[in-house]
Subunit: 199 residues, 2 copies
């Protein structure tokens, strides 16, 4: 398959790219600062450009989202808006603009995360964004068939424990390679409207 | 208790107001077009004014949200933004601005809905908003204690079946009076971070 991969330079994007390439797929990477196509998909107009540049694809895979982490009382309305634009609306736009452009039986795989169901202090914007994306995935799935849409919702990565481990006390991490396999499962499988949790 | 009730003129707001008044509480109603205080809480600045006018309260109760209903392919980015402002950010602002203002052991009860877990065609914005609010509730709960926060997530109301029944084929409705009791349970109980589902 020809697969559009958003989040080219991140740890997860790199792992997913390797897994998909390893399965024989052609991967077009998109990132703000690296990748085959350099765009910021938080801007709906740049999503359009990405699709125009990429041409016909079979699957769209999201691995990146930007959200602020602060206590609720230190958040501003702008912080929640930025989480909405940085992890929710950008991924919705991949779908909304992608449905008429990708293959008839193509698929979308979006990224959420454990904080939607199991928050930590300072995660209210991240949690909100993850909950929004997962509910959108369930809703879009029943409209876009035979195209498919799923979300991948991992806990903290083993490879990020040194940096983020203190925020996830007592929580068993998941290897990036295992998360990447969930993307493979979503892209090559037949399921839709599923949230693949890894924890 | 002194309770701030958002959504004064809606079917649900009216039922919740009656239930809370029936329990002996003092209810201050807020609505765009009716109620003791007339404000649009989709505007964060008006949320501030509501709290300044209301003075000290023990509980804040949300019963209203505005979201567009259209197929995914007919939605625009602005539609999803309006759902975010009309049902997510407005309720987040009630909490964010309310925490320093309401009673030390006060509570927030927000409104979501069945479409977050069980979508219908055209509900992607509503579903997204409900998922966002429920995840925010779980996240805020672990930060704001001993204040509490819950959400009420009802299916279609018996009293709205004539108008909306066709959108919920085969789905057993719930009486407004029963939904109102879930608000009583959230306001007077000790739970936090809970999503009370009614279906």
């Amino acid at each position: 398959m020809k697969i559009l991969l958003i989040g080219a330079t991140g740890k997860l994007g790199t792992a997913v790219g390797e897994a998909l390439t390893g399965r024989g797929h052609e991967v077009i990477t998109v990132g703000r600062t690296g990748g085959d196509l350099r765009y910021d998909i938080a801007d709906p107009a740049q999503v359009t450009e990405v699709y125009e540049r990429a041409g016909s694809v079979d699957a769209v895979v999201g691995t990146a989202g930007d959200v602020p982490y602060k206590p609720v009382l230190e958040m501003s309305p702008e912080d929640y808006r930025s989480a909405f634009h940085g992890k929710v609306l950008n991924q919705i736009e991949l779908v909304r603009q992608g449905v008429p452009r990708i293959a008839e039986r193509g698929s979308f795989t979006l990224i959420t995360g454990v904080l939607g169901r199991d928050p930590i202090p300072t995660s209210s914007a991240a949690s909100m964004a993850n909950g929004a994306v997962e509910a959108f995935v369930r809703a879009a799935a029943i409209e876009i068939a035979p195209q498919r849409i799923n979300a991948i919702s991992p806990t903290v990565f083993t490879e990020s424990l040194e940096k983020y481990g203190d925020f996830f006390p007592g929580i068993r991490p998941v290897d990036l390679a295992e998360v990447a396999q969930a993307y493979v499962r979503s892209v090559e499988g037949g399921q839709t409207g599923r949230i693949y949790t890894l924890e």
